[in-house]
């Protein structure tokens, strides 16, 4: 069977699974819809959190990012895992004891202010929508690449699936489908990774292969008889071609510290992750569930950098100085190169007209490849059969454009794996994107039906009507997300940095102060949140959208890292303003005492 048929089969089977689970996990109360009835087993919650967390970006793009960044890729690896320690130790158990339904619930009650609640709702909705736009787009892209379905049709199919289990089952439906999606995505990620590890280092555990000596079928060829470790070889290959050593980085230490910090605090401040810890039966389960979540996430996050190093080593060794056209007796590019060139993820410009691919430091093209068309409408081809590009960058000697998504997508082909493995990767990427999208959409839906309607504008709304409102809001959110998937704002990738920076500078300090500092009051925390958000947003907007230049950066801190500074500013402002304004009322101080102690947590049956 060819790849496309396998893909239809495997993706279809996974979709049938999700729909089946959704039917079984129908929501019948607001408790079901908001927190899955509060009875989710910690291990299942861990799997669901893992899938919720790992988006299409984690699955497809992260290994590619790391592969080009080398050591600097650690900002994502540590940033996106270290935050779970903060979540587990500083937030999850206390929010579970608080025991309501959403993050704005906590902010509104703890800071005895509907104003604070509404600020929190706006932040949650903004953060979630910016994130979800990228996910729906990702779904469309996977459909178009693997199933040759038009991107927009792909987005629509994704929307339909999420619509079904989110509107029908709410958090209950989402949790159990996410657990299934975790199984699909981890299997899909690990299978090619294990194969590549064996081919390059003769070691079937990628985490170990990462540090091993070159061996195996492809590895021995690359080592050329030398007894050298993969990383040493990669460092050598990098420096020969003018790149920095793989195990060193290019970013400044301060920038690395800030980006890592912003990502960690942002992770712990993202509403769709936090809300997962409301769904377990007890405080004790919340703690353990965070451990399971990180364990399941770590399986992928410790494999990705290995895959990144394997793929880069193999790529450089295979294409550097290779002839584009097949030449007897000389190194020539492999078939997969041409296949992926046809998808636009690879492009070669023969800048020095020697017929060979030179891959060195510097941007080969001005941005993404723009391919030329011939008079008859087909792709224009050069002397050796390569696709011609119109936007070559004459200022560098680098002739090769490599899209970082290729690292994961092309792996199965590079390792000559069977067609069903490629289909599996498609199913895994879809599982990752759909699970994250669902979690985000639920935050939007509950913000409207619970935080705005029930808690602020229509407190006497009946349970039945609140549930209807939640379903309608979920449906509307899916539509809007789908719209953004079909017409993505140009800045989708940048807005993810936005989402983390805002979560780090708004929610994270607000919740930490709420639990650990009794004196933190409404005036202090709301001021802190507003100042933190405005500072972070202005910095990001200035540098990402208004053309700020690198020499204008404060201490060299990039927009991705400014959330760390925004967070500190939030804490500082909140402390100072709290000192000069009235302390929180007695019932709020008692609320803080109440959430600091596990005993008396409401069980699953006592929900709402």
């Amino acid at each position: 069977m060819d790849v496309q048929s396998w893909t239809f089969l495997i993706v279809g089977a996974t979709f049938a699974l999700y729909i089946g689970i959704a039917i079984k996990a129908r929501a019948s109360t607001t408790g079901d819809f908001y927190i899955a009835g509060g009875g989710v087993h910690p291990v299942i919650n861990g799997m669901a959190t893992g899938a919720d967390w790992m988006s299409a970006a984690s699955f497809i793009s992260m290994a590619g990012l790391i592969s080009f960044m080398g050591y600097d890729g650690a900002v994502y690896l540590m940033g996106w895992t270290g935050g779970y320690v903060l979540l587990a130790l500083l937030l999850a158990p206390y929010l579970r004891k608080f025991g309501k339904f959403t993050v704005p619930d906590f902010v509104g009650d703890r800071y005895y202010s509907n104003g604070a609640r509404i600020v929190a709702v706006i932040c949650a909705v903004f953060v979630s929508f910016t994130y979800v736009a990228g996910q729906m787009r990702g779904v469309g892209v996977v459909f178009s690449r693997f199933l040759e379905v038009d991107i927009n049709v792909g987005v629509a199919i994704g929307m339909a699936i999420v619509f079904f289990y989110a509107v029908l089952g709410g958090m209950k439906g989402i949790t159990y489908t996410q657990a299934a999606q975790y199984c699909v995505l981890i299997f899909a990620f690990m299978v090619p990774a294990i194969f590549i590890s064996i081919l390059l280092t003769d070691n079937l555990i990628p985490q170990l292969g990462f540090g091993a000596h070159l061996g195996g079928e492809i590895g021995s060829r690359i080592a050329g008889g030398e007894n050298i470790s993969l990383l040493d070889k990669l460092n050598g290959l990098n420096t020969e071609l003018g790149f920095t050593e793989y195990t060193s980085g290019t970013k400044s230490k301060l920038d690395v510290l800030c980006i890592t910090g912003a990502l960690m605090a942002g992770t712990a401040g993202l509403p769709h992750v936090i809300v997962r810890f409301y769904t377990v039966p007890k405080v004790r389960d919340a703690r353990i569930s965070a451990g399971w979540a990180l364990l399941f996430i770590a399986i992928l996050y410790t494999t990705a950098p290995a895959v990144a190093a394997f793929a880069r080593t193999n790529l450089i060794d295979t294409v550097s100085e290779a002839n584009y056209a097949q030449v007897e007796g000389e190194k020539s590019i492999p078939q997969w190169f041409k296949t992926w060139e046809d998808t636009g993820l690879l492009a070669w410009v023969d800048k020095n007209a020697d017929g060979k691919v030179q891959y060195v430091a510097g941007a080969a093209l001005a941005g993404k490849p723009s391919f030329a068309k011939a008079d008859d409408g087909s792709w224009a081809r050069g002397d050796h059969g390569q696709r011609l590009v119109t936007n070559s960058n004459p200022e560098t000697a680098n002739e090769l454009y490599v899209d970082r998504d290729i690292i994961v997508l092309a792996n199965p082909e590079i390792a000559a794996l069977p067609a069903w493995v490629i289909a599996l990767v498609a199913a895994g990427a879809l599982a990752a994107a759909l699970s994250t999208a669902a979690g985000l959409l639920l935050v939007v839906s509950t913000s409207v039906s619970h935080d705005l309607l029930k808690r602020v504008f229509m407190p006497s709304i009946s349970e039945k009507n609140e549930l209807i409102a939640a379903r309608v809001a979920a449906a509307a959110a899916v539509m809007i997300a789908g719209y953004f998937g079909i017409n993505p704002p140009g800045f989708v990738a940048q807005v993810v940095a936005f989402a983390f920076g805002l979560a780090a500078s708004s929610f994270f300090p607000a919740i930490i102060l709420g639990v650990f500092v009794k004196r933190a009051n409404r005036e202090g925390v709301v001021s802190g949140m507003l100042v933190g958000i405005i500072f972070t947003a202005s910095y990001i907007i200035y540098f990402k959208f208004m053309g700020g230049t690198p020499d204008q950066l404060w201490f060299g801190i990039s927009p991705e890292g400014i959330g760390a500074l925004g967070m500190l500013i939030n804490f500082a402002v909140a402390f100072v303003v709290s000192r000069f304004t009235p302390p929180p009322p007695q019932e709020v101080q008692e609320l803080v005492e109440h959430i600091r102690v596990p005993v008396g947590s409401s069980g699953p049956s006592a929900v709402h």
Binding site: I66, Y71, G73, A74, L77, M78, T81, G82, Y84, V85, A88, L89, L90, P93, Q207, F210, G211, A212, H213, I228, S229, L230, L231, D232, T247, S248, K253, V256, L257, T260, G261, M264, K282, V283, R284, R287, I288, A290, G291, L294, L295, A298, Y301, T302, P305, E593, R596, V597, P598, V599, G600, S601
Partner: protein, 90 residues
């Protein structure tokens, strides 16, 4: 809360904070410390039998293992603390 119950809760909270400080210190050392600030010096050392330079290893793999362990250790320590101060659920 009555006086002695408040007392109990206060002492429980103080012990909770101690556990947090200890675990977060390790969290910080392994990530920001070994993975970033001291990475260059640690890179002078290679893990024997592998191609891993120590700083790089902490940054891309080792710190993550420690994070996972920290959370499970935290859950364990807190369960014992809850029982000790009689504030555990069920």
């Amino acid at each position: 809360m009555t006086g002695s119950k408040q007392d109990n809760a206060d002492r429980y909270w103080a012990r909770n904070l101690r556990i947090l400080f200890a675990l977060l210190a390790v969290w910080w050392l392994v990530s920001f410390g070994a993975g970033i600030i001291f990475a260059d010096s640690l890179n002078e050392i290679s893990i024997p039998g592998t191609g891993f330079k120590l700083g790089f290893w902490f940054a891309q793999q080792g710190s993550i293992y420690v994070f996972v362990a920290l959370i499970f250790i935290y859950a364990r320590l807190m369960s014992k603390l809850d029982a000790e101060f009689n504030v555990h659920e069920d």
